[in-house]
Assembly symmetry: C2
Homo-oligomer: 726 residues x 2
Amino acid sequence: MKIALRSGLPAAALLAAAALSPVTQAGESKGRPWMLEDILTVPEVNEIALSGNGRLAIYAAEIADIDAGKPRSHIRIMEVATGRTKDVLTVDTIKSLRPVPGTPHWSALLDLGEGQQLYRIDTEGMLQPLIVNPNPVPVGKADMSFPIGGGLRPGHVGILDYDWSPDGKWLWYSQLRAKPDEPRVRFDGEVTALLGRRRSSIDIEVDYLVRNPDGRTTKIMTRPSTDRVATRGGGRIVWQGDEIKFRIERRDGTLGGAFELLAWNRVSKTVRTLAKERDLLNLFILAGPRGGQLSTRGVASDRELIEASAEDRPHSYGRVAFDIGDSRSIGWKSSGDGQRVVVGTRGIDNARYGLALIDKGGVREIRADASLTRCGFDDMVRAAICVEEGMSRSPRLVRVNLDTNEIADLGPISPRHEEIAPLQAIARTFVSRDGYKVSGYIVLPRGHRAGDRHPAIIVTHGNDADDRFAEPANQWNYPVQLLAERGYVVLLLNDPSPNQSQDLREAMGAWLRGKGPPDPETVQQRLWLTGVHSFEDAVTELAAEGLIDPARVGIAGYSRGSQMVNVTVTNSKMFRAASSGDGGFLEPAGYATGRSSYDAIYGGAPLSDNIERWRRFAPSLNAGKVCAAVLQQVASASPSQIELFEALRAAGVATQISYYPGATAASDETHLFYLTSNRLFAMRENIAWFDYWLLGKRDVDAPFADHVASWDRLKKNRPDRCAGAP
Amino acid sequence: MKIALRSGLPAAALLAAAALSPVTQAGESKGRPWMLEDILTVPEVNEIALSGNGRLAIYAAEIADIDAGKPRSHIRIMEVATGRTKDVLTVDTIKSLRPVPGTPHWSALLDLGEGQQLYRIDTEGMLQPLIVNPNPVPVGKADMSFPIGGGLRPGHVGILDYDWSPDGKWLWYSQLRAKPDEPRVRFDGEVTALLGRRRSSIDIEVDYLVRNPDGRTTKIMTRPSTDRVATRGGGRIVWQGDEIKFRIERRDGTLGGAFELLAWNRVSKTVRTLAKERDLLNLFILAGPRGGQLSTRGVASDRELIEASAEDRPHSYGRVAFDIGDSRSIGWKSSGDGQRVVVGTRGIDNARYGLALIDKGGVREIRADASLTRCGFDDMVRAAICVEEGMSRSPRLVRVNLDTNEIADLGPISPRHEEIAPLQAIARTFVSRDGYKVSGYIVLPRGHRAGDRHPAIIVTHGNDADDRFAEPANQWNYPVQLLAERGYVVLLLNDPSPNQSQDLREAMGAWLRGKGPPDPETVQQRLWLTGVHSFEDAVTELAAEGLIDPARVGIAGYSRGSQMVNVTVTNSKMFRAASSGDGGFLEPAGYATGRSSYDAIYGGAPLSDNIERWRRFAPSLNAGKVCAAVLQQVASASPSQIELFEALRAAGVATQISYYPGATAASDETHLFYLTSNRLFAMRENIAWFDYWLLGKRDVDAPFADHVASWDRLKKNRPDRCAGAP
């Protein structure tokens, strides 16, 4: 892993080949073109914090490390006044970087070889352990580990999360604890839970603890592994007076879930239930300045910000043009006195992230020219240091004055990305034949001139086509920038947002609840087929404008995007090539383990009276309608993915499934690939796939170059029904 | 594991409770009643050998060891003349115990902590390593291991198998070799192969090697892990002149398989192909005295023994009343000069195992009063030492004179089993309404008197209801003897043997080939529904005779037997309770990974135009017809088993699934349970299950006694349609 990549090619050779690949040379604007390595090494700042007095900032930039074969986090401390920065430490992972109230220091969860534990970081970057759980638990998709979602990299977790009281004297933290794995006979529900097993695993519990100012620790509660708030959030909490508010999930088998908002009193040591909730889309508790919870309601231009509590009727802050509570936004922070609250926003019209400052008097929005995607705040929530980035703007640090709205630049996070001449990315909203708006961006090929007509590729992933820089959660292993360098128009297209109309929200609600109304056909229509229409209509529109060649259009998307890709190729004749990333939802093979997420779509099991619905909609059962060449790149080799591959093969469709391995045979790659060699190969494979099927190019420099020969055979053997296809 | 069993009950307490459980006291005959521990500790002699000169015998008796939590093999050496025996060694496993030709010693594969390797055993039982593979491979159903079938216990294998040339100067052996597990991207077929994955695993290759008299080693061939002859047999071979004959499998995806018989010449070091073969039911090469291969052909009373080779037309030895090549029989042995061959037989009429001695002149059968199940032979195949055992006869060693047919007793293998007063087991053949014969045994309850009427339980597993002693491969975790002690008639019933009629053989042939003729409905009828008829007809017959109470009849079977149980409960109203052991075949969930074994039965995939066939026959899709209470005890928690459980639950059927764990969470129990505590609990669970559902008894001493309360709920909630059921 260290130097050579897995094909035997040294990494440098692969990167060199990629560097040579842009079709057009930079020249129209200052700077150099994108290279594959630039996409690989886009920095992600997941953690940032100010010191309480606002003088020093600390942040961690996660950057792929080709030698290490995986990303590493570079921890940097900056003098806010001067922007002077020093690298203090490089670690595999860092989480929950926060100021320690009342001190100039920070704390964070780090893994220094003994699992993820809680450390203090002083102003020089020196570490001191604060809480160490001597029995860290193996996590991630790996043998004898506890898999938390699909996103967590294999590793060990001692402390899961923590939070300081506003005065810094109390410490909340949550620990993972492995349940005894002494072999025992299991019965009924404990056996059916093993249905989807692909590896051995362990079960865990999450303990919530509070350390009081005397140093004594009280256990508040133990949560089971089925509580997603506990395992994914560590029980995100809010300190309010003597109470600690947190949410628990009472797993009810639905996708949306059933929750309770609790408050634990640190004086009386008792718990009370504040609210019962359902179908949450995020785990934040957005406490408002009036003691309630903040949320937005209403659709389209009627969206308003409200604060609601069990006692009073909701207070409205008026109409707003943003959503709050988005997990990609900045989140939530309250001033020490609770009078001032700042929440992260996502603009409805421009898909840009910002801030909203709320006090009892009202709400004030702070927006930059691009997105503010991460912020650290001072104690009083008067100053922030944030990451500013955009579709064509590489991430920089900025200082934000929350009183004056002034934003001052503090310099780049990644100098190498400043060297690149930005590609032209045009924000655009399309309105489909169904009347729904879809937002997105048109990324123009380097050197595009008015009148040029290009091949095009749609890249889609839910509503991640927003104003961020080469965002991996949006473009996955689809090297958008390199495709644009090589002459493609890339359309970054979102789903029609459910917040724009009541009927889309109702369909989404049915999906989350696991049952309608509306009926299954309507759910299929509104959550998937409407999206297909919007893709087709966008292509038709841009073809009519002369920008793209409708005979050379591809589509790519992972996860939610792979659902859209799979439904698109089975319902549209417009796409010649497709790349579907680590998906497989909607297939019969997924029903048994994902019942609650399927019932609203199909009405019930495939081998029931609902079979005709499955036959009409499930991608694998409609393989015979596909003419696009379909590549699946997967991290899980799930039964659904294999089912689709085999159905496409059997129907004569040109198809390939590529399974990207974990760091060892005992662990898996994550849903969003993290292993450097996998990311490189998968990006190269997508370039080769689209070049072959859209442009007829045979890229013999690509990894697995021998595949071109097998693609020739697939092409030759395609069924007659596709002879007239693009 | 060492002292306490997994429920927390000490093993001794559980056994004590079971010991008290016989309903009737011994008294009618000499000896004591059966206890649960007796079933657990029935000895299995898998390995036995004579020294070349016939003076000493060595054998290994595998006996469950409650302290160790698993079986251990006790290696004993006996003076044949006196029967004097000494225990020389106790090991976890021993395999392929054979004389070293030209010496007084033996050799065997033993695992002494460094994986399974080849050792010499001298006449005092001292060991000396002969071949040690320094890189033994982890095998069995365990993380990062190579799973060989479902039967191999987790462990490590260096040397897989071996054989000495008749002069003892050459040594054939096969080694496992792990393929490199460096992570790599996998494509297409390599991905679909992961469909059924339940744990991480590794892939291996098998190397065939020959050591010549000079000590030099030549590699003959490398076989892939898909060659079942290689992985399960290690390439069983026959020495003939300068040639070594062995069989390879060219995996063609069918259940029956495609094979080639090869010969490697040790002088020229070349390989030639002797024959291409299909649909083999066993892996033995049965070389005859005329240079061909022995087999039986013809159905029913027309069965004849032939010797066939590629060159000549088959030679017939005339009609015989036995089958050869059965993997449960003694196997095959040739005299040093190849003139005399002995093969193991299985009687067609009496399901008893014996020997047949074959020379160019003809065939002579040697049969004892019970079965001869294992033998060791001297060099000239004139004397043998064998294990003799029967349905009511605990295993003893006997000396067999192959010239005179004389059989002399050498004493018991397990003195504790001699103390038990034998239960009365009556061999009986039933003829069903379809005209097929089924053989089996009626085990009468202790103290049965003419005119008594009893509850009854059928125990079925293919054709394993034969003349052997408490055979685990037949009775699995169904404690037949204890059920008889507690007042049940136990019917040990076989499938109708396919060898009795051409139409059954054709159906079997279609199953093995993966396609008919006959058509799928006929295959279902002949291989499953005919068996259901035979069960019903046997019950009706014995009820008419007054022996059993038709309102209190249960059925139990594992593996093939579980297929019969599952088809029976969905097609018959005669059974009030059922126990289905580690099965699940015939369910839709199994199709994707077992296509070739399903196509002849259903015509194709469940989600295809064949769906109506699945709906009519698959047990889970007919759950609504079941009124019997169905217990599944499983070692694998496979999707098919879970599918059946969930369907039965959804249909209101009283059902439970119990998943028995491996020795650690990183490994599985084997198909035939080997872990002592699992075997004990599973047997007790079956007693409690049948006592509850057939007799209405609530066994509060049983393990998991709290289950009785949940069974009460299941009983109360049974659907109305079953109100009139037995």
